[in-house]
């Protein structure tokens, strides 16, 4: 830890001398090997000191929010270029999404809006988002729900990290109609994936200095499936004696979340319960417009809003809340090791959140998206960093 921070400070000294030529390559590589969790991460796609990130606008509010992100990045002179890949969800072919997946493989990192899934289409047309997650094996979905000081909510002091298995479970999309009128849907739980996600959860908990990990399950009913998940969590917990491990049944969890959410610290769970719990927690801290989410795989990382809403009804009306997408882009900058830019944008976003007159409609205000973004950019400029014109 000390070695990597020393290397980090050294890079700050080295950078002004070498300018943009050498960039952080030498120092960056050492940083990578110290800080990255897995040992096989390919180096970030850097060219001339600038990173390239795949950008998938998606549908609904995705395109406009990602435009705002690009605006803020350009304004703050963030050395990130975006490779935009459009995915047309109404087409039946998978070419678009395959292009997007290839772009992400090429770049290693992506920022995306939600791609709409029309559930009236036949079952052969799968959810594009799900396809993206499973093809790239983005096995961990991480969401950090924190009570924001400027936002009025019923509960206070919430600080929960939710780690959700992202590839299997109920989202296996394996369904068949064996007899007419009887449909079977398969929920798959594997030992490997459960161990992997539990390990990720405990490592993240240790890294962030968290004290307690709670596994959410329904093993009293699904004895084999969730039983296996719970057993894997217990096995991994044995290797982390400094972190307390307990488990809770999912219906009790939701009941506790709406009455005493302060009791939870880190939670790990299979896919569907993760969907429910993450949406409940997002609602508790103020809504879908405030929480960023990240999907991590061994080799790739994709950042998006935590609750993955398309927001069709509020699209193109300048009322969407840009906070979630901007915070997601800050998480991406952290992942790319551009920590300074990440913290400056994040501070600007959180400070703007304290100004209630700039709240968007979803958190009870009357501000527009562009007003919020302008205010964020003004704040970044006021901090004295290098920016382009407003």
């Amino acid at each position: 830890m000390a070695a990597s921070s020393a290397v980090l400070s050294m890079s700050k000294i080295v950078k002004p001398f070498w300018g943009g030529r050498l960039g952080n390559t030498v120092v960056g590589a050492t940083l990578t090997s110290h800080r990255e969790k897995s040992s096989h991460t390919p180096p970030p796609a850097k060219y001339g000191g600038r990173h390239t990130v795949a950008l998938i606008p998606g549908d609904g509010i995705g395109p406009e929010l990602l435009n705002h992100v690009r605006e803020v990045f350009r304004f703050s002179c963030v050395p990130v270029d975006f490779e935009v890949v459009h995915v047309n969800s109404s087409l039946g072919t998978l070419d678009d999404i395959n292009n997007a997946i290839t772009a992400i493989r090429r770049n290693g990192v992506a920022l995306k809006g939600n791609i709409e899934t029309n559930h009236t289409m036949p079952p052969s047309v799968k959810s594009r988002n799900n396809l993206l997650r499973t093809s790239l094996d983005l096995y961990a979905n991480v969401m950090h729900c924190q009570s924001l000081p400027g936002v009025q909510t019923r509960h206070k002091d919430i600080d929960i990290m939710i780690i959700r298995e992202n590839t299997e479970g109920e989202y296996s999309s394996l369904e068949h109609e064996s007899v007419s009128g009887v449909v079977e849907s398969l929920k798959i739980i594997t030992r490997n994936n459960s161990l992997r996600i539990a390990d990720y959860a405990f490592r993240l908990a240790r890294e962030k200095g968290r004290r307690r990990v709670t596994a959410v399950h329904k093993a009293n009913i699904m004895k084999l499936g969730d039983g296996l998940f719970l057993q894997c969590c217990k096995e991994v917990a044995a290797g982390y004696p400094d972190i307390t491990f307990d488990s809770m049944i999912v219906d009790n969890t939701t009941m506790q979340l709406v009455s005493k959410p302060e009791q939870f610290d880190v939670m790990v769970m299979p896919n569907l319960y993760g969907n429910v719990v993450s949406n409940v927690c997002a609602g508790l801290v103020g809504g879908p417009g405030l929480v960023p989410g990240a999907n991590y795989g061994r080799d790739y990382a994709v950042f998006e809003t935590a609750t993955r809403n398309t927001g069709k009804s509020i699209a193109d009306r300048n009322i969407a809340n840009p906070t979630a997408m901007l915070l997601a882009s800050c998480m991406m900058l952290d992942h790319l090791q551009l920590y300074d830019h990440a913290s400056s944008i994040r501070n600007a976003v959180l400070t703007t959140m304290n100004e209630t007159r700039l709240h968007t409609a979803d958190i009870g205000g009357q501000g527009t998206t562009s007003e919020v973004v302008q205010s964020i950019m003004r704040f970044i400029q006021s901090k004295g960093q290098l920016t382009s014109e407003l």
């Binding site: 019923r154 739980i189 490997n192 009455s259 319960y273 429910v276 997002a282 609602g283």
Partner: protein, 388 residues
């Protein structure tokens, strides 16, 4: 052989109903059919009219069950509700062939009375038999679990304007219990959705909405991911919506419902959904109004059977100490009265209960007070009697 048995059964029935047969040939066909027909379509209303008192099977349960059942019986007596209680025990016994079942006298009583009130049942860990709730569900084919969640004035929670009903399919879905180990380390659980079960629950939901003057029904699903299974469920809901044009029908994704539920629960009315989502959402809604200690619940089965129950646990640590809170069982009993059409008594008892809680003088420990269960019960009885 069979014919003789059938004939003697008919003769016994006719004798019971006061008809006598001098000559078998002279038995009027319509009399026999009247008897048989009346038995088949016997409805609670008819029986109330005939006898005045309704008989209800009461299953006190374990732990605090007997205390709270006694409390409910006392309150009903004070309210002069026309209910006669028939107490039965449902400890599982092993029938012929090794299959576990509920005692035959309990089954017979339920089949006869059609309405039941149940306290909490303990699920023994290593008894070798499935949980009692599961057994009851299978025996009477209890396909719908109905949980009305209304904010209780006087029991403060962060949510003050909850007024919704969750209707959950109770027989299939993710809880079918079909699991296999495919290879070592890979487990598969099967979620079963059938057309008839989905149709049955959808029609019940709309029927309930109509009977209870609810404006809209929302189907909760995840058809974007589970296209075929939840798609089938949705299709059946849409078909049922066509038949009940007076009730508004909407569909919403499970995650959107969860998100909106914790931000603004007042926007929901009646929610209908498959088993797992129903389990999670109904407990979420119970948490919004104050927990399982104050939430009523009813299970509707085929053949007009309905069992109303309290969904909390047996609380063995406070059993027998007169500390239990009978609110959940009482509100379930009120739900039962409404189901039977005794709205006047239902309103009276419910109002007395809510007034007692709002008054805050005699609350039990879990509601934040210090009183005993008997004191709380007595307060409600007093209020009920004062209302007359």
């Amino acid at each position: 052989m069979a014919g003789n048995v059938w004939r003697s059964t008919i003769l016994n029935l006719l004798r019971k109903w006061g008809l006598s047969i001098n000559d078998k040939n002279k038995v009027k066909a319509q009399e026999v059919s009247r008897v048989v027909g009346a038995l088949k379509t016997e409805t609670p209303q008819t029986r109330t009219f005939v006898r005045g008192m309704q008989t209800v099977t009461l299953i006190p349960g374990d732990g605090i069950g007997p205390e709270i059942s006694a409390a409910v019986m006392k309150i009903f007596e004070a309210a002069k509700a026309p209910i006669q209680w028939e107490e039965r025990n449902v400890t599982a016994i092993q029938g012929p062939g090794g299959k576990w079942m509920i005692p035959p006298d309990a089954k017979e009583s339920m089949d006869r009375n059609k309405i039941g009130l149940k306290g909490p049942l303990k699920t023994p860990i290593a008894a070798g038999h499935p949980s009692m709730n599961l057994l009851l569900r299978k025996t009477f084919d209890l396909y719908a679990n109905v949980r009305p969640c209304v904010s209780i004035e006087g029991y403060k929670t962060p949510y003050t304007d909850v007024n919704l009903v969750t209707i959950r399919e109770n027989t299939e879905g993710e809880y079918s219990g079909i699991e296999h180990v495919i290879v070592d380390g890979v487990v598969q659980s099967i979620k079963l959705i059938t057309e008839e079960a989905s149709q049955r629950i959808a029609e019940y939901a709309f029927e309930y909405a109509r009977n209870n003057q609810r404006a809209s029904v929302t189907a909760v699903h995840k058809a974007n991911i589970m296209r075929m299974s939840d798609g089938l469920f949705l299709r059946k809901c849409r078909e049922a919506a066509e038949k009940y044009k007076d009730v508004k029908f909407t569909e919403m994704y499970l995650d959107t419902v969860c998100l909106n539920m914790v931000q603004d629960p007042s926007q929901f009315d009646v929610l209908v959904m498959p088993n797992l989502y129903g389990d999670i959402l109904s407990d979420l809604c119970a948490g919004l109004i104050g927990g399982l200690g104050v939430t009523p619940s009813g299970n509707i089965g085929t053949n007009g059977v309905a069992i109303f129950e309290s969904v909390h646990g047996t609380a063995p640590d406070i059993a027998g100490k007169d500390m239990a809170n009978p609110t959940a069982l009482l509100l379930s009993a009120v739900m039962m009265l409404r189901h039977m059409g005794l709205h006047g008594h239902a309103k009276k008892i419910e109002a007395a209960c809510f007034d007692a809680i709002r008054d805050k003088q005699v609350l039990t420990k879990d509601l934040g007070g210090n009183s005993k269960c008997s004191e709380f019960t007595a307060a409600i009885c007093q209020r009920v009697q004062d209302m007359d």
